[in-house]
């Protein structure tokens, strides 16, 4: 697969207007490099930036963690279970 699958949840899905998208990358990048591409395409996400967490392949990740083509990235607003 030539890109990263991006899933959005809760308020982030609302702000972006989509629940799933794909960001094309052809080499390994960091989450920090992926974010501006995503935010550029879905500017509604921008004001949420400081509240968002991210997961790579189902585990919480930091902005300097690596993302490779074929990975699944999730955009996670503040959780509110319970």
């Amino acid at each position: 697969m030539n890109g990263v699958k991006v899933l959005l949840f809760g308020a982030a899905a609302d702000r972006a207007g989509i629940r799933q998208t794909e960001v094309p990358i052809d080499h390994t990048a960091t989450l920090g490099e992926l974010w501006p591409v995503l935010a550029d395409q879905y500017p509604g996400l921008m004001p949420m930036r400081d509240t968002l967490a991210f997961a790579i392949n189902g585990e919480y990740a930091r902005m300097d963690d690596a993302v490779s083509p074929g990975d699944e990235v999730a955009v996670l607003p503040p959780v509110s279970g319970g």
Binding site: G10, A11, G58, E59, A74, L76, P77, V79, G82
Partner: protein, 144 residues
Amino acid sequence: MFRLVEEPIDVGTLITSAFRPDCGAVATFVGTTRIDESSGASVEYLEYEAYRPMADRKLEEIGAEIGERWEVGHVSIVHRLGRVDPGEPSVVIVVASPRRSPAFEASRYAIERIKEIVPIWKREVWSDGYVWVGSQVGTRMLAK
């Protein structure tokens, strides 16, 4: 037993399945949908969504953390997804332990950790729109 479910939770069965002859204390926490009132409108129901299977795995991690920190004989966590009506349980935590202190502490730990690390989100659906709890994003006038 750690589960995300779409249907109502049978609290009684969940608790009685935790009874064991080597455990004298069973502490349970049930989170139910609470109704707030604000400016004439009211919450009609809650709606939960989760990032699966990450959320399932995080519930199991909380169970493992509890097993490392306290002497427990049984831990169950069940969380609802989808629509949950007022007064219905959205989450049920059951901990059995030989003694009561670990049971109380572990059940409280479980709900705090759920609210910290499990990728579940709820929105309040009001008579005049909805709001994602914690994000203040939604379709209600007040949310904007």
